[in-house]
Amino acid sequence: MKILRWQYTLFILPALLIMLIFFAYPVILIFYFSFLDYSIVRHTKEFIGLANYIKILQSNLFAQTAYNTFIWVLISTLLPLLLALVAALLTYERFLGYSIFRGLFSLPMIFIPSSTAILWALMYSEPFGLVNHLMDLLNLPRQIWLANPSTVLPAVSIANAWYGTPMSYLMILAGLESLSTEVLEASEVDGASYWQKVRYVILPMVYPVILLVGLLRLIDVIRSFALIWIMTQGGPGTASTTLPVATFKVSFLQYDYGIGSAWGVINVVITLIISIFILRRQRV
């Protein structure tokens, strides 16, 4: 029996409906709310056009939040990528104890963000934390890592990098393991040193994988919220307030759904722009 085109459409209709209800509807709602003065504390719900966006973009908080998000994304994306690449390059040629190393190195991946946050908050703790014990051993002054505006962002970003490195490692490792052995052997026959092999053969070949891993990591980091919220709640002051933290604070601590939705939309738009930019570069 021949199935007609419209019948195919019928088959995908249930999935489409689910998508519309659970994905499209909330997205449309958030866009709609972002044009409202909608506060469930002030009991307002009126259309105000772009006023929420103008208010956000003109605020000092936006500049601070944009800067914080940039630092947070930079460290949390590049550091794990670098660590993962180095680890993958050192281990892709299997050695004795390879499985144990891979297992141990991937361990942080099994933690949920809230556990990671609590673990690292304890590590950074002033009276008890491991990090300050290390500072003692090195005869360096103790720091209150999460209460110092200049250290808080790097500190939480490092915790996030620790959490994100294993996934990047496994993906880059898979990329390395899928490389053509013929090309690698040919470079060895031509007398390439290890470093030349890495620099001129492996890295160019694995570059698309690294780019993809970086992009996925970046998208994950830019919208991540739990870790930073649990560790610092965006403080001290606004020193570690990133875009998602600001969105949460406005929406669920100030109960201003209108301006909170506008923060959310800005977050989505920035993520989209960065993603499209990187994807286009990848195509080039």
């Binding site: 469930i40 504390v41 002030r42 009991h43 908050a121 703790s125 002033e126 009276p127 103790r142 209150i144 999460l146 209460a147 110092n148 505006p149 709640q233 403080g235 001290p236 002051g237 606004t238 020193a239 604070k249 669920f252 601590l253 100030q254 109960y255 201003d256």
Partner: protein, 438 residues
């Protein structure tokens, strides 16, 4: 035959199901893990057995309680019948979604005036919105000072203090100067002993500043004008002095453990247990039983308590600083308001409120119950002496409360970590308040 037996079983089961469906169920919110209501929760089966009303006790993490409650109320989902509300700003936010309780109050106590005489004046004020009564209080607390009695009574410490400062070691300190002297005296970083523990992580610096400001006669927001009352003159100068006081405790006198900048009051309680503090200031009413538990007393000796010394030249009627009020209200979409009221009546029974005092050390705002709890030694002296002379935060009574509180927390945190001076903090706070209230 077998079919008939099966049909009979089915019939019995369905009848049972109908019976249970006909049983009234009410859903009640609760701050998850809150020590003050744990004892009352344990008494729930008694209520269910006596009334036949089933209670769906919904534990919500403290940080999510207001957001979840408000979201459900706004969406009119009917998920909650009885809600818990704090004077921090829930009262102002929730009441449009609640049922006025005046008819129930009149039925139980004869008149609203009679009911108001039974509870503290501040709780009575906080219960009424636009002329109607929406809230029934069940919990009251205030921040106060605790101190290690054994340390303060130690003859060696007493003579060393007198030698250094020229007067007897006050137990407890009664003025701010004495407080600083005592804190400085006991601060011995080499021995990991600190003079004064104040939690300074998250919202706590704001709680401290607001406590001292309210005690000093600064309302922060004038409820008559809807504007900050510390923008000019004496109150402006006093606000800066109060901010400087906290700043000096942290950065000049260095009497507070450095790690306090990331701590809440539970962490501070653990530092207390480790014997690293001579005095500590926070919401100890929620932890009084723990502080007096054999485990704690064995570790650091008996605990004394007192109100934090008041800012000099301030009205004595405000010497208790900032209070908390937690109340119950009935949601206006509730299908069984009579059952919900029965639950509230039970919740605020003398037995339950005494249980609350006994299992945590918190007061209730019910005058007679609190009096008895104090007599039985369930409440700290610091709380008993602070609560009647304290007021709830004014920020909670204006509709922009959540924005104002967020701004206050952020600016207070920034000052504590040295990102702004006390004057800058007050000026920034005023600027942000004016912007929010515009």
């Amino acid at each position: 035959m077998i079919i008939w037996i099966l049909l009979l079983i089915l019939l019995i089961l369905s009848l049972l199901d109908v019976a249970s469906a006909q049983r009234i169920t009410i859903s009640v919110t609760n701050r998850k893990g809150w020590r003050c209501t744990e004892g009352i929760k344990a008494n729930l089966p008694k209520f269910e057995e006596a009334t036949g009303i089933k209670v769906n006790w919904i534990d919500i993490p403290p940080g999510e309680l207001t957001a979840k409650t408000l979201a459900e109320l706004e969406a009119k989902t009917g998920a909650f019948d009885v809600i818990m509300a704090s004077a921090e700003f829930d009262l102002a936010a929730y009441y449009p979604y609640l049922l006025p309780l005046d008819k129930y109050i009149i039925k139980k106590w004869g008149s609203v005036a009679n009911f108001r005489k039974l509870i503290s004046a501040q709780a009575a004020k906080a219960a009424v919105w636009e002329g109607k009564t929406y809230y029934i209080p069940f919990h009251g607390n205030a921040q106060f000072l605790i101190y290690r009695r054994a340390l303060f009574e130690d003859p060696k410490e007493r003579s060393a203090f007198k030698e250094k400062f020229g007067y007897e070691l006050p137990a407890p300190p009664k003025t701010l100067k004495e407080l600083i002297d005592v804190a400085v005296f006991f601060t011995r970083p080499d021995k990991n002993l600190w003079g004064l523990g104040i939690p300074l992580g998250g919202k706590y610096p704001q709680h401290f500043l607001e406590h001292v400001m309210l005690g000093a006669g600064i309302d922060v927001i004038d409820l008559n004008t809807g504007k900050p009352d510390f923008a000019t003159g004496l109150k402006y100068r006093r606000a800066i002095e109060i901010a400087s006081f906290l700043n000096d405790l942290v950065n000049k006198y260095k009497v507070i453990p450095p790690g306090a900048k990331t701590m809440g009051h539970v962490e501070m309680r653990e530092i207390w247990k480790l014997g690293q503090l001579a005095m500590a200031f926070s919401w100890w009413g929620d932890h009084w039983d723990v502080l007096n538990s054999p485990e704690f007393v064995k570790a650091v000796g008996p605990v004394g308590s007192a109100p934090l010394p008041q800012w000099p030249g301030s009205p004595p009627s405000r010497r208790g600083g900032r209070m908390s009020i937690w109340s119950l209200g009935i949601v206006n979409t509730c299908k069984n308001p009579d059952a919900a009221w029965k639950f509230i009546e039970w919740f605020i029974s003398e037995e339950n409120l005494e249980t609350e005092a006994k299992t945590s050390g918190a007061a209730s705002h019910w005058i007679e119950v609190d009096k008895k709890s104090a007599e039985k030694g369930f409440l700290a002296k610091g709380l008993v002496e602070s609560l009647p002379y304290s007021i709830p935060p004014r920020l909670g009574f204006v509709k922009q409360g959540p924005q104002l509180i967020t701004a206050f927390i952020e600016e207070a945190q920034s000052m504590v970590v040295g990102a702004s001076t006390p004057k800058q903090m007050v000026d920034k706070l005023l600027a942000r308040f004016n912007e929010i209230l515009k």
